[in-house]
Symmetry: C2
Subunit: 137 residues, 2 copies
DNA sequence: TTATATTTGCAACACAATTGCATTTAATTG
DNA sequence: CAATTAAATGCAATTGTGTTGCAAATATAA
């Protein structure tokens, strides 16, 4: 599992399992803390940092208050991340989804601007919440 | 100037003038502090907060470390902001630009996802830095 | 099993964000 | 213009997150 040059520990396994259960859902550090029975704030902090630099997790900027993390693609490694997909924050339930399949369209920058990186944060209502809403009406 | 239900004070005027000098450039709180001869950190903090909630400034998420602020459109008000344009962070000079004129192309979300808001953070090399680079080569 | 390097847990620190409150100031009114 | 009122300011204090140091515990390698 973590032949990303990371040692296997039970703590890291617990954390990683939370992400593997819902591969396309991003979790914040406080999300993770809520699901752990016992945890050390600093160890979790360093775990996330290790995972990100190892290419296991990537930071998911969703435009919300707190930073979230999500599973990387298979081909991510310590030297290069490859997670340039949009992230979707649901304003109802607060969940953040990795939209791997949504292609970021190209667009025209002003003259002499050179594009190197894009971060697309979308917010709205997710499919799950949308179904609930339409059922209640 | 601030008939956004904000009182006119010399401090607020100083801050607002910095934004009016370069209407399309976003400034961080530390940027502003550098340009003020004397300031109170907390007052500046509250000034920014007032400006944002009054519809004078909007937060410009550029993917960089620090939060920046930029002038709102004319039609922004306390109840609704209307600043859904991309922001461009130059990796050379660190400047952040509001790309008012760049149209965000529409794209297809997964089924049952309802889009309410988009934040597009672009980074690269700005026109100013690009000109310098090409001159030196 | 032993040796070595990494990880963990706890304390401590740095720093930005936030609040309380008395004082000052701006706008309003007579 | 003077008095009144509500908002803004400045300073102290608090909170909370991010971060580091270090000794003890643990995972991997030999
Ligand atoms: Mn993602
Ligand atoms: Mn802007
Ligand atoms: Zn939802
Ligand atoms: Zn530049």
């Amino acid at each position: 599992m973590q032949r990303h040059h990371l040692r296997h520990t039970s703590f890291r396994e617990q954390v990683l399992l939370m992400f593997l259960e819902n591969p396309k859902i991003a979790l914040s550090q406080s999300n993770i803390e809520s699901s752990l029975e016992a945890f050390d704030r600093i160890t979790l902090y360093r775990t996330m940092k290790s995972f990100v630099s190892a290419g296991v997790l990537h930071k998911a900027i969703d435009g919300g208050e707190e930073l979230k993390y999500a599973l990387c693609h298979e081909d991510c490694n310590p030297s290069q991340h490859n997670d340039d997909h949009p992230h979707f924050l649901c304003q109802k339930c607060g969940s953040t989804y990795c939209l791997d399949d949504v292609h970021i369209p190209s667009f025209q920058l002003p003259d002499n601007y050179k594009l190197l990186d894009i971060q697309l944060a979308i917010s709205g209502i997710c499919d799950r919440c949308n179904v609930h809403l339409t059922c209640n009406l």
